[in-house]
Amino acid sequence: MNENLKFIQGNEVCVEAALYAGLDFYAGYPITPSTEITEHMAKRLPRIGGKFLQMEDEIASLCAIIGASLTGHKVMTATSGPGFSLMQEALGYAIMTEIPCVIVNVQRGGPSTGIPTHVSQGDVMQARWGTHGDHAIIVLTASNHQDVFAITVDAFNLAETYRTPVILLFDEVVGHMRERIFIPEKGEIPLMERLRTSVKKGVDFHPYLPREDGRLPISDFGGAHRYNVTGLAHDMWGFPSDNPKIVYGLIRHLVDKIQNNVHKIARYKEYYLEDARTILVSYGSAARSALHVVENRRSRGEKLGLLELQTLWPFPYYLVQEKCADAKYVVVVEMNMGQILQSVKVSVDRPERVFLANRIDGVFITPTDIRNILRLIEGKGV
């Protein structure tokens, strides 16, 4: 049998993909339903000479990987709701200091301890706005194991390209479900490396002076150039500054480098959209049920389509507007109170035609749940 073919949990797929992407440093803290990622990392990393740390909490885990990333390593940590809440301050630090890292949040029910072993997609807005202050962020998700692999590699590529934290927002169903996955050969998916400075040793290096294209070359910390890094607003030297012009330039740079590239960052899949009258917009494991409904109805000749979002933030408004332009109804399928619904409504020309099919009780949303909402919208009763 082909040894690249595996039948494993989504969490383990994420580990395989991270290693494929070149990760060699991981720190984490056990929390359901993401623990398997930390366990597999503990086993796999030392075998390739990589480093694994189990830290005293999630704050320490994120801080440790930020430190390791700065010295030139590809890094990741994984957690779930409560741990993700703890990470918010350090997440902002990585945004402000432009240190690449990947943070996996395998979502469970919240708020607070919530329902640790059950599925939810309740952290979508937290991933967007959880850390304080104006900022942009990249948040990706996927609905099946082959896509979990690809999107995890992508997360590392985007983190390195834009020098930013990237959040992988998976959920309990994808994390724990076992499914067939084909691990690509090395080289099949291109890998991005961070842009390193060409400034020679001994020559003055400005660690926070972006190039004209917005990219910021890095010098591996502890290497050829000695410089300062701070979470305070800072000038091109990386030294604290409250000069309004400098602060303005910094915030614009942090936001623009991501928002201006929304087209390049948008990842999505589409099914039967060409002539769809009703379009389901979904993401993560919920998209599996949505796809089931679409295929089922298509077989009966009904014009249903699915837009599966893989990039949640920056939200691809242009994409949703374009794809849903001719739809009579748009139904957002998600396992929360409508966290992506709002962005979809803002995107389309007729927000009154956007509806929500959701579950918030810790139970995986089924095709029947979606079908019931569709019947209501179509005026057919339940």
């Binding site: 030392p46 000479g49 830290m55 005293e56 801080c63 440790a64 430190g67 010295t71 000695r226 701070t230």
Partner: protein, 267 residues
């Protein structure tokens, strides 16, 4: 190399109040580094938030100014990924032992090679004089306006109990001892803690009527004694200074290298 060569003059003047002990700690630290003869390029300084944390901006090393209480966790990531670098982590008393208390004890337990300096001025200076976990019972601050009922930690005892393999204490009055202990702590292979009792005349001194910076320094002279001295037996209120623990223990990065070897064999 002169001490001046370790400084980023571009970023002076510093932000500290006149009479503050932080500059004296910076001086002692640089003298220690100069004496050991470390290259600037092999030193990483990681700090958190507070007056003390600003030290990192002024020195010409690889410097990382992080978030409140978490300096040791960033340092852990850097050291683990680049074990050949020398890690120095200056922290204030609130930074190290209130918000960062959990990280502090776990870093001590792990015994990763780095030097934690707790600059203990018994107050939150940056925010204007609130009590810290080291202010102690009966002290005055803006958040203990009727006197503090919180008891303080003993940094040395806490560090010893948490497993630090090097533990020392000195004061800003004892500048030569400070440079000596810091030097030994930096050379020590393992997790080192050096508590430096320091003065904040602006907030702790003024609110507790301790006089000028010089009065506070005199206080360190009169109320401390070398570790194991007879004076301590006569007067138990004296605070001991010197080196309390200096022992060889397996260092974390070395231990992890063994794990890598073991894991590779199992492949």
């Amino acid at each position: 190399m002169a001490v001046k060569d370790y400084i980023r003059e571009r970023f002076f003047p510093h932000i500290w109040c006149s009479g503050c002990g932080h500059g004296m700690v910076l001086n002692g630290l640089l003298r220690a580094i100069e004496k050991i003869g470390l290259d600037k390029n092999e030193i990483v300084m990681v700090s958190g938030i507070g007056c003390s944390a600003r030290i990192s901006g002024y020195v010409d090393f690889h410097t990382l100014h992080t978030i409140h209480g978490r300096a040791l966790t960033f340092a852990t990531g850097i050291k683990m990924s680049r074990p050949e670098l020398k890690l120095i982590v200056p922290m204030g008393d609130g930074d190290a032992l209130a918000i960062g208390g959990n990280h502090f004890i776990h870093a001590a337990r792990r015994n990763m090679d780095m030097t934690a300096i707790v600059i203990n001025n018994r107050i939150y200076g940056m925010t204007g004089g609130q009590y810290s976990p080291l202010s102690g019972y009966g002290t005055m601050s803006t958040t203990s306006p009727y006197s503090n009922i919180d008891h303080d930690f003993d940094v040395v005892e806490l560090s010893v109990a948490a497993g630090a393999s090097f533990v020392g204490r000195t004061t800003t009055y004892h500048v030569k001892q400070m440079a000596d202990i810091l030097g030994q702590a930096i050379v020590h292979k393992g997790f080192s803690v050096v508590e430096i009792m320091s003065q904040c005349p602006t907030y702790f001194g003024r609110q507790n009527r301790l006089g000028t910076a010089i009065d506070m320094l005199e206080h360190f002279k009169e109320n401390t004694t070398p570790v194991g001295s007879k004076a301590k037996q006569k007067n138990p209120d004296l605070v001991e200074r010197g080196i309390f623990v200096q022992k060889k223990m397996p260092e974390y990065c070395d231990e992890y290298d063994k794990i890598i070897e073991r894991a590779k064999k199992g492949n």
